[in-house]
Symmetry: C3
Subunit: 677 residues, 3 copies
């Protein structure tokens, strides 16, 4: 059977639209909106995300009539609806009548209504109220023809440290550990006299005199993600129970710290993500690509949706740079290239009230005759032409490992240096691959690596049995493995694994270490050894973090040239004599050229080419292959010509192309093999 | 009838003195103080500001005898008294016995005694206790001959977020909106599901999960200002009810964020202000001038009082630079020049105890033979010579608009850039006028502009009907209008007015915009058009904020030369073909020279000259005309000669001057037309 | 009778070892540990610091059997034990069952278990529980032969602002002041209407609207130190009551802000200190020397113990640089040179769990074949050779005054500049002495100065009668006195002493001031007068703070060359005509060369030589004389030769040395006079 999300895009093509909040506008505006949506190529809008207080103005009351009208109007204009449960933002009365529904922060302060998201995911009263409104909504609209998708909650990310959370945290811990001795062992409560007498004595992390137990903190993060997921699941189940057969999902937020999306991904019918690149960061295109590859990875390669982005500037940063229409178009095509079958926005019409009155929208305050809206209209037309791409897949031979638990555990305080950040490392190892035009899948440690010829492990701090086994299997099979610093340091309880590190895979690396070392602020020089590189780098620098390493059974590729680690290996490579792939170990934070050379060496030895040879991001053109389409995105300020042997048709323009295509500055092409004439 | 404050200065001349806190000293010291005050030229001291705990050592007890002695002593020495109600700082027992009198901050923390100001302005118990001591004080001293002025509270600025405030905030909202639907409409509670069921559900802004509703926040600021004003008013009324006929006032704090002094000014008999310029800021003389022009504006041109300044350094900044006696003298004469009929200090004698033990005073710890005290004595003598100036007015043909509600609304979070600050803009537009020696009145938007030939609107974010009408009337009459960025963006509920901005006056500007744009950190180049300027500027730079503008019916004076706005107008001027003044629109934050050129253009076209042609602050001499006196303040490090055609007498020296006067470095002259010989 | 600590070192030699936390490990590991300790030269370990939850898993239960086994095992291996009371970190159940034992911070937030130290020192329930476990522990192990020392609590530094503390603070105030009038006078409650009706109204400092009363804050600091000391004392008394005769102590933390170690030092049988120099700070060797001289001073010259240091990197800084074995060795020998008879670590074996899993240890995660552990073994061997040094004293002719009360009072907010910091000043005045190889004793103001020829007073803000008298006596006797800025400003209640400052000793200085002055950020030039210096400095700069001074009866050594103080004295020296020593007054923060020249002048006039002439830290070799041993520590990167006239034996190598010794880079020698052959 075809996946249910593919059924939607089969019908509608690439989804295009945004959040639409009709409760903010008069019905007269609804009609104008429906017309303008059509003109802009919109085919799907998300409605009702923040409608709880409108649906239920007083406890138990229901007012759905206005939504009937909205859905009928949209349907009449041929615009499909992603109908939201309104549970992300309860009405003020819920918190007033039931203060226990309000979250309590780490300082013990109970948060109040007046913003949004003021609920504890552990609150029984909140959960019941959210479920009740969801059931009624589902019952009413389960079969409405406009509704082609359901959207549960919004950007799940609430944390409660209060008594509601304490009760559920204890339940969760009982389920995880069985006995309090199990908890004591896992948390290492022998340290600092923290042994618990009973589960009843355990608290969420709150304000403490000094550093909190790192495993307590890790478990509270796991619990919080699980608790939020439980909120999602019970609403999704209620929607299904009402007979809904279309996809149900919620919107992720990329590398968001509070939810382990590997655990969540199996519960959504389509992975959906909100993406707001930092336009002040020149590396944001590479970082966006990484997030998009993650989204594709979460869905095991299936198409996903860009659920929210900004048509222009955001308004929640301290200083929000504008987004040019050209940049919006390139970024949107990038998402489609990397597997998105939907490109949506927050939001359709710019609000004139509330905290996001300055957030850009598809339809600005100044109306249709604006730079932003013209860009939105053009993008709608572009996406309509990409219908053939929907449902296809992105091939990749390189895997990059990432998981939330390692990230969480790696950044608990009390470290050699707090400046070593997992996401920085993940981005640092990804960027050279992006620069070189290499297709990458983001994979969960422990998942099968059978499809890959190169496995990159920027920082998997916690390396469990399954992850170790998968790495060993890949290497044994001949795949290359690149391992970054502070990998394999801890077990699943965040206990340091004693012995020379990376304790579980030191034999695989052929190198091992005894001491993690914070590097001086200025960094230290690193000398590349002249012989073994595929691409000989010059000297370089290491910063932040180094490791006191020994090459046990590996070639030294680069050496620290000064300081505490002077003369010791900084990068090694083990080339097994028998079968098996090479393993690189990078025991420091290298500068971009040197880390690039390490990855170039790995790509060369694993015979991995750019997706489109000759078109690489480092040269100005980001190139991605999806299905039989070749996406070429010129991110430079000048025209670029790309060699594309053969005969193609550019889906965006309908023009035929042979052997080469010239892209104006900031322009794009989506080539598919020309139909034989 | 003569205003009652003028009656005081008629009697006493320019008021000179400071806060005097006799409870800190033995009676023997009182006698020394009275003598030294006389020797320093002091004619007015403010007593009793922090005397509540001394008057009422236990609830209901009264001890006024010591104050009888103080007042009699001062009176015997010919020193008048500004008698304070002691209600700014309740005794510790009030908070202990009645915790509900203590303010609760945004985090829910109840503030405690041990500092000062620990009261909620909404607390019924505090209000009753403050009124009781005020009544008794007024009854006792209503007719004391020393008492020539009353001083209610001190630096009103308390905020409470607790239950006392919640109750009164709800009352205030009921009065403002009548129905909860009115509140919901005004607050835009359709956004983020914030609709209120009832006024009873509303809370003051407290800690929330994310950004608070901007109109809720704005209304809480309005409420807080009103609540503080109610505290002031009920004490003032009690004083009047006791038969007091002398002026009653309280001390303002310049551009203070927590009180809307436009609303307050009508309630005081003389505007009084505390001024502590930042001596580390080289532009502080201009900024002080702006504050002084504001104070004069608050009183509609009437004389005001400098109620507090520091004789030397303050002690509440992280690093408090010293004030030279020359600087103190120039700044004090500046205040008189700009309308002050009183120059007072915090405080007379330096405290040896308490949190302000290192705040400078008129009489330092080291006594009379000190640089600071010699400066105080000299200033006292100077001011005595300025008696003829008292009661006179400062003429100005340029108005600068400023109001608190716009400021508050403009800086609610969730903006294109938080770096655009209203006060920065107000100062930026004022400084070129100051540099050029132009007299400026600070005017409330909506007030009559009939007296002005040029109206400068740095940032009036909220532009209501009255403000729009006044601007239109002024322009129609032929006055020039200079409009700065982010003006006229929102209505009185802080809702964005849809359409091309500045939505209500775009026709007047002849230019309109569609998008607010945060500029890159380095700023962007701006090119001045060669033709239309009165004073052709070179190129310049814009930073922070820009606007995507179109010149509908205006001349483009300057253009963005690069970036997102390249080629688009940065500054425009509409010169109506028929009657009516020119209107400048500045759609960005210009550097000082370029903004100076815009204002120079406006001054030239409006034919506005410096108050004293040839003596301008940019040339080192700040010149101000008050009544028939010409104040010349040499703020440079070298002697300056100023042409002053005619024959004059320098009030400070008694010397005659003809046609020109030479001022030594850091020296001043106050010229009045010489009496015919 | 020999001091009881000397009895321990008589038996064991220099103590060497660290914290050992056996509850974190299996008994099998205990056995390996005991063996490895012996191999590393360990002769003393501190056990049980964090064992409370293990001893008392539920209220009232006791489990000591495991500790019996540990102590017997260690004893069998010849390793002595410093047995800790486990009271620094109560089990979680104590806080759960008795929330009143948990400390409340300044914001009113009650801190929770999950870290360590979660107790209020004022809690009656905590105190009783801590005493009960201490008594049982003492009863069981009073006579255990392994136990050669007792260690009470750990790093005392808890603060409570809650109701438990409020009650005891009131008691403490009643004891201090007798009457509430006494308190009101001491606290200067006439300022800001703070007069208290009764002791019952007084609160600890909590969140207030503005600056808190400085004497209230000072008294709360005094109270907190006293309260912590009371915790220590009652446990110590319980240990003694059980018949323990070996030394009892606790571990200090150098210049730690929360405990007045002058008051504590008399209560410990040996001063013990935790030292974690900041390895990123190039001046840390001098700063460590200062701390060590303080520790020796606290014990009135007696040997002390380095109770904790790190074998490698710490983990509680944001970025923790590594410690080379050479640096560890030099720093450890430095401690012995400056009077330590013990060199211990936190901790023996690196934890794999808990918040300090990345703190280095004597035995790293990677085991014995590591750079760190080899360094630990070498140091153990070195210290064993230094046995002859144990018990000897360090002679010094220079005293440097420091006290906690002055430090506390000097840094209460509301100052001319918060950038003037007492510890910065103490370090600044100490470093030139260290650079010049001069032995220094740190002395409490008011203590006898009879032994010294030079007294350095960097900043004794509070100068009481005793301190004044001691200074006068020293000067009268002919000792030189160097006085730094903001000395003698306040009395014991932190009231400013009126008059020209330094009010109590201005006659001694022959100079006096009238105004404290914050200097501009760039500082100001200071010109040295050409005549009177022993060592003529070039010009220099002053920053942060200056003083408006007058030389009443003193020679001006240096003058401010610009700014507010231009032409006025910056440094003076009074050379009495009759008997009596010279007095230098430094009225600003001088740069290092200029302050060095002032101190060089003082050293020259007082005829004070380096401890080892020709070996000074400024030249790369830190030299210290202890007893008849000469410690030479080459802290430079190259070999250095030091002249040491005579014949010596190097205790570290056993080699004989005559007249000169050459030290390789980062190496050391400890010379004792050669035995006659």
């Amino acid at each position: 059977m075809q996946p249910i999300f593919d059924q939607v895009t089969d019908d509608l093509g690439i989804l295009y639209g945004g959040d639409y909040n009709p409760e903010q506008w008069d019905p007269a505006v609804w009609r104008e909106d429906a017309r303008l949506m059509r003109e802009a190529g919109v085919n799907l809008v998300t409605v009702g995300v923040f409608s709880w207080a409108r649906y239920e103005p007083e406890p138990g009351v229901r007012d759905f009539a206005w939504m009937d009208e909205v859905l009928d109007l949209l349907h009449a204009h041929g615009i499909a609806v992603d109908l939201a449960t309104p549970t992300a933002s309860p009405p003020p009365w819920l918190g007033v009548d039931h203060p226990d529904t309000l979250p309590v922060d780490r300082d013990g302060v109970r948060l109040v209504p007046g913003s949004r998201n003021q609920f504890s995911p552990s609150s029984r009263v909140y959960r019941a109220a959210a479920l009740a409104i969801t059931r009624d909504l589902a019952a009413r609209y389960a079969t409405h023809p406009a509704v082609r998708m359901w959207h549960v909650g919004n950007e799940y990310g609430q944390v409660d440290h209060g008594e509601e959370a304490a009760r559920e945290f204890r339940r969760w811990l009982r389920e995880r550990y069985g006995t309090v001795d199990g908890l004591n062992a896992a948390w290492g409560t022998t340290f600092w006299s923290q042994r618990y007498r009973s589960f009843d004595d355990v608290l969420p992390p709150r304000r403490t005199p000094y550093l909190v137990n790192p495993t307590q903190s890790l478990d509270f993060r796991r619990f919080t993600s699980d608790e939020l997921l439980a909120c999602y699941r019970e609403q999704r189940d209620a929607i299904r129970a009402a007979g809904v057969t279309v996809p149900v999902t919620t919107n992720f937020m990329g590398f968001f710290a509070l939810a382990d999306y590997w655990a969540w991904a199996g519960e959504v019918d389509v992975v959906a993500d909100d993406q707001y690149p930092d336009l002040a960061d020149p590396r944001s295109p590479a970082d966006s690509a990484l997030v998009q590859d993650l989204m594709r990875g979460l869905g095991d390669g299936a198409p996903w949706m860009l659920m929210e982005q900004a048509a222009g500037a955001t308004s929640w940063r301290e200083h929000n740079l504008p987004r040019t229409p050209e940049r919006l178009r390139l970024d949107s095509l990038q998402a489609v290239a990397r597997g998105a079958d939907g490109v949506c926005f927050f939001q359709w019409r710019a609000s004139t009230v509330g905290a996001e009155r300055f957030h850009s929208a598809m339809l600005p305050h100044a109306g249709v005759d604006t730079r932003v809206h013209r860009g939105v209209q053009r993008l709608g037309a572009d996406l309509a032409r990409l219908r053939p791409v929907a449902g296809t897949r992105v091939p990749a031979r390189t895997a990059l490992l990432f998981d939330w638990e390692s990230w969480w555990a790696a950044e608990e305080p009390g470290r050699v240096t707090e400046r070593l950040r997992t996401l920085d490392q993940v981005r640092a190892f990804y960027r050279p691959l992006w620069d070189r035009g290499v297709a990458v899948d983001v994979v969960r440690p422990g998942a099968s690596l059978d499809a890959y010829d190169l496995v990159v492990v920027p920082q998997t701090y916690v390396l469990d049995d399954a992850a170790e086994a998968a790495l060993r299997k890949a290497a044994a099979r001949g795949a290359g493995v690149v391992v970054g610093p502070m990998t394999g340091v801890a077990d699943g309880n965040a206990h340091v694994v004693p012995g020379r590190f990376p304790a579980r895979v030191a034999d695989l690396a052929g190198a091992s270490g005894e001491e993690w070392v914070a590097l001086p602020d200025a960094g230290v020089a690193v000398a590349a050894e002249p012989g073994p590189w595929a691409e000989l780098p010059g000297g370089g620098r290491a910063t932040v973090h180094g490791e006191l390493l020994r090459a046990d059974d590996a070639t030294v590729l680069a050496t620290f040239a000064e300081g505490y680690l002077a003369g010791l290996p900084a990068v090694t490579r083990r080339d097994p004599e028998g079968p098996g792939g090479s393993v690189w170990y990078v025991g420091t934070v290298l500068d971009e050229p040197l880390l690039g050379a390490v990855l170039a060496d790995a790509l060369a030895r694993c015979a991995i080419e750019p997706a489109v040879p000759g078109a690489v991001a480092a040269g100005g053109v980001e190139a991605v292959v999806r299905g039989d389409a070749v996406f070429l995105l010129n991110r430079s300020d000048t025209a670029r010509t790309v060699a594309v042997p053969g005969r193609w048709t550019d889906l965006l323009t309908g023009r035929d192309v042979a052997d080469a295509v010239t892209l104006p500055a900031h322009d794009a092409a989506v080539l598919t093999p020309a139909k034989s004439s």
